[in-house]
């Protein structure tokens, strides 16, 4: 049964709150604030009892699937298990009940955690400094591009261009444009990686940076990474790493050894913090020494008295958000890294890559695999196949829901037609991967034998396929 909107459950004089009476000798509101500042009439908020609120949101939660309920192989999103102990630790009052403007001496625990988190991220990436402030991956990109821009302005060099591969995440281009850069696209070659000749042609003294995702969004490592770095560095540009796919590289390669100068991490992907149904995330930025002076303020530093926030950084780009970062998210990621330790990191990447290759192997005889070679943490199939009888990738995705699986990322990367981008992560067991493979193979058969079952999916959920065209044509964005 569909759950009504909270407004539709409202009844006059029901209430869900319990507040104390005013204990200070109440004065008429108009004696405290002139009438013209005061709101007249109703607010238009619902009136529901506490059990109404609880049942409403519990029912809504039951109409949502997450990693805790289902396999969620959403490519490039690294939907791995979110350890429960990290949730508990992040909720300790010593972490949640502290104010951002409390005296520094009274928040030494959190400052120490932030300081240590920076050191851990530096060690595993080979970067010299890390800012934990950005709230999301795209915010990390934006912060980085602002730093790069400030660097060249300081050098009085005019560099107005960012190079972005055609397989890149959309945020790379959007963040570059936000910063006022011109974007030039670099082609992928027939093996799905950077076309070095195209890069050589387009690299110039006007280019501020090349933004790379490694492994790229096809799940492929750039075999020519050292040449790529040389081409970019020879013209004194920066090599940027979009760290969305770092789950394949932990403890195996350090970005600095690939020639990366600046990068962002996605704590909500690689480092197991829950994605919250869309956020909050955390997108720390790591840099080599050359760019360290430009990091946003404040940084967390340590002296003989303890840890402190440093605002005194002359070349900093300034502040990129209020206060110091999505601290609650950073605490979870720190817990995760400490649980893994040096012994665990490599196991993450090993098993993420093993799981992806296994699933690819199970599926490649049933679906078209445009780049048939060992993959890293994810792989991309194409729903574009002559025998598919008008069934589209979207249909396959919706049919997967009937089998109890969240679909992969679809229609991305753009260089694969009808793409299905599959990232199982290391926290799934072989039985789950086998069940998913069986479902995909079953769907492949249905496409031959009973395509309408696929085209009209989902069939088994509380709601059928939703009309997105109607949603955008007849806009209804509020109750």
């Amino acid at each position: 049964m569909r759950e009504p909107l909270i407004f539709e459950k409202s009844r006059e004089d029901r209430r869900g709150y319990s507040l104390p009476e005013c204990d200070v000798g109440r004065k008429g509101v108009e004696k405290l604030i002139p009438g013209n500042y005061l709101r007249q009439g109703r607010l238009g908020l619902p009136q529901v009892s506490e059990p109404d609120v609880v049942r409403h949101f519990v029912r809504l939660s039951q109409q949502n699937i997450g990693i805790d309920t289902n396999f969620y192989p959403l490519g490039s999103c690294t939907m791995k298990y979110n350890p429960k102990v990290n949730e508990d630790i992040a909720q300790l009052p010593g972490f949640t009940r502290i104010h951002p403007y409390q005296p520094e001496v009274s928040v030494q625990g959190t400052l120490q955690l932030l300081h240590q988190m920076e050191i851990l991220l530096c060690e595993l990436s080979g970067m010299d400094r890390v800012s934990l402030q950005p709230a999301a991956g795209a915010h990390g990109e934006l912060t980085s591009l602002m730093m790069i821009k400030a660097y060249y302005e300081n050098k009085k060099e005019e560099r107005d261009t960012i190079l972005i591969p055609d397989s890149a995440h959309g945020t790379n281009a959007a963040s570059s444009n936000f910063c006022g850069f011109r974007i030039i696209e670099i082609k992928s070659n027939e093996s799905g990686v950077i076309d070095l000749d195209d890069l050589k042609d387009k690299m110039s003294q006007k280019v501020a940076a090349l933004m790379l995702t490694i492994p790229n969004t096809l799940g492929l490592f750039e075999p020519g990474i050292l040449q790529i770095a040389r081409i970019v560095h020879n013209k004194e540009g920066f090599l940027y790493l979009d760290g969305a796919n770092l789950n394949a590289l932990l403890g195996i390669v350090r970005p600095s050894d690939l020639g990366i100068d600046i990068m962002h991490f996605n704590l909500h992907k690689t480092f197991s913090t829950p994605h919250g149904g869309g956020g909050p995330g955390s997108g720390p930025v790591g840099v080599k020494r050359t760019l360290a002076a430009y990091l946003p303020v404040p940084t967390v530093e340590k002296n003989s008295k303890g840890y402190y926030l440093d605002y005194n950084r002359a070349r900093s780009i300034g502040k990129v958000r209020s206060f110091y970062g999505n601290i609650g998210v950073i605490i979870r990621a720190y817990c995760y890294l400490r649980s893994l330790g040096k012994e665990g990191l490599k196991k993450i990447s090993y098993n993420a890559v093993l799981n992806a290759n296994y699933l690819m192997q199970r599926l490649k005889n049933y679906f078209y695999l445009p780049y048939d070679q060992p993959c890293m943490h994810e792989f991309v199939l194409s729903g574009k196949d002559g025998e598919m009888k008008e069934v589209r990738t979207l249909d396959i995705a919706k049919r997967l829901l009937d089998f109890g699986f969240h679909p992969p990322t679809i229609y991305f990367p753009l260089i694969v037609k009808e793409a299905l981008m599959i990232e199982p992560t290391e926290t799934e067991c072989k039985e789950t991967l086998d069940a998913f493979a069986s479902a995909m193979i079953e769907i492949r058969k249905e496409i031959e034998e009973n395509p309408s079952a696929v085209k009209e999916a989902p069939h088994n959920l509380s709601i059928g396929r939703l009309d997105e065209v109607k949603a955008s044509r007849q806009l209804k964005l509020r109750w």
Binding site: G94, Y101, H275, L354
Partner: protein, 448 residues
């Protein structure tokens, strides 16, 4: 053995056999040998769950937290009451372990909750449209200014100095370098916008005027007069509000704000040392196709049943790439969920009650403080839950003494406003009891 990795050695062998690879290392063949790490990273050893909990509890105890101290500190981060059901409901892992709801049929819970969030915020703000959230109040304000520039191409931005200093700093980072706009700051008179100066500085080149209400000093701005001045010059009007205050104060839609943003932390998010918080973004309908971030819309399934989807996605980066209206991908969905649960729980009558408790208690505290010899109001403009006090002794000394008595004192305004040397900005929320306030008063009395 890491409990989060299910593969056993036997599993790995079977999988490798199926793949036809000799070892897991062999799967990394694309990475040149010379690039691979030869040794383990220099990281601490792994911790068991018990060891981890002990270590992190130890760290958390190095913080002094507000279950132990009584807070009179606000300044953009507020210690409001959070009903117990919030943690239980937003802690449902069907919500918090899900991703952005790209697959609508599998994400109806989060989508409906977000649609309700948009609806509740539109109601509360009396604005036409609301997005699914941005990072925080400061970045929401910066995004509004960027939108204003896209609409009218004005070259300068007027921002009042009573807008939160962190928001103004973020604004500078966001728009000065990227759009090359100039930012002019308007001074305050008696804690609120100097209207004469605003009139003087506004021009045809002004893209937008930005005010905060209640402002950083807690004072109420003359929002209607500022609206007239702003619109007369053809500029856009951007207001940043405290959503709790809207339980009592005139909402931005009623004084014709073009965009209204706010820090939504007060709606059920914890202090968290400054994040994660909630960026609220609303605007007039006419800017719909230019607004940043995700939006949820209502639709129907093939049988006509109501359902919800992400809509207007052609504005967004994953479709439009460099022509997108913003680069927002991950936002603060879980904080928006907390806001919708908070607003549903408080509802029509609870929110005004919270707002009035803040108003009554802060005014009681102010009256009592001003009775102490030497303490006087820094400003006499009307205020909501925060007020600045001119002190007869240095504010840092006062705060030190209060701290020694388990009270977190006010914000020392001279940190960000050098001309306000002896002023402390106190905040009193509904959580402070008469006992708390009277103890504050006794301590202050003891200092003079």
């Amino acid at each position: 053995m890491i409990p989060y990795i299910p593969n056993t050695e036997e599993d790995q062998k079977e999988m490798l056999k199926e793949i036809g690879a000799e070892s897991i290392e062999a799967l990394f063949c694309a990475i040149p040998q010379n690039l691979r790490l030869k040794t383990d990273l220099n990281l601490p050893s792994s911790l068991s769950e018990m060891e981890l909990v002990n270590e992190l509890k130890g760290l958390s105890k190095k913080n002094a937290h507000l279950d132990e101290y009584v807070s009179f500190l606000g300044a953009g981060s507020y210690d409001h009451f959070i009903p117990a059901l919030l943690d239980h409901l937003s802690g449902r892992s069907e919500f918090y372990t899900s991703y952005t709801p790209y697959q609508a049929e599998a994400s109806q819970g989060m989508l409906q909750a977000t649609y309700e969030y948009q609806s509740l915020i539109c109601q509360l703000f009396q604005m036409d449209i609301c997005n699914a959230s941005l990072y925080d109040g400061a970045t929401a304000l910066a995004e509004a200014v960027i939108l204003a520039h896209k609409v009218n191409h004005g070259k300068e931005v007027l921002v009042v100095k009573s807008v939160h200093p962190e928001s103004r700093q973020v604004l500078t980072t966001y728009i000065k370098k990227t759009l090359g706009l100039s930012i002019m700051e308007i001074d305050c008179q008696n804690g609120v916008t100097d209207l004469a100066q605003l009139k003087e500085k506004i021009s045809n080149d002004t893209s937008c005027v930005i005010v905060q209400n209640p402002n950083f000093f807690g004072c109420l701005e003359e929002v209607k007069k500022i609206e007239e001045i702003t619109h007369q010059s053809g500029s856009l009007y951007i207001v940043s509000v405290d959503p709790i205050s809207l339980g009592l104060l005139v909402p931005p839609g009623e004084y014709n704000a073009d965009m209204a943003v706010g820090e939504g932390q007060a709606l059920g998010s914890k202090l968290n040392f400054g994040g994660p918080y909630l960026g609220i973004f609303t605007s007039k309908k006419k800017f719909l196709r230019k607004i940043p971030g995700r939006i949820v819309g209502e639709t129907i399934d093939k049988e006509g049943k109501r359902g919800f989807v992400l809509t207007l996605q052609t504005r967004e980066q994953h479709i439009r790439r460099e022509r997108a209206t913003s680069n927002i991908c991950t936002n603060q969905a879980l904080n928006a969920l907390r806001a919708v649960i908070y607003l549903s729980t408080l509802g029509e009558k609870g929110l005004p009650k919270v707002a009035e408790l803040c108003l009554q208690k802060s005014h009681y505290a102010a009256r009592r403080i001003y009775q102490i010899p030497g303490f006087e109001p820094t400003f006499t403009s009307p205020f909501f839950k925060e007020f600045a006090v001119k002190c007869p002794i240095p504010p840092n000394k006062i705060n030190k003494l209060l701290w020694d008595n388990k009270i977190l004192g006010g914000f020392e305004l001279s940190r960000l406003y050098p001309q306000l040397q002896n002023s402390l900005l106190f905040c009193v929320t509904e959580k402070r009891t008469r006992g708390d306030i009277d103890r504050l008063i006794r301590l202050l009395e003891g200092m003079v």
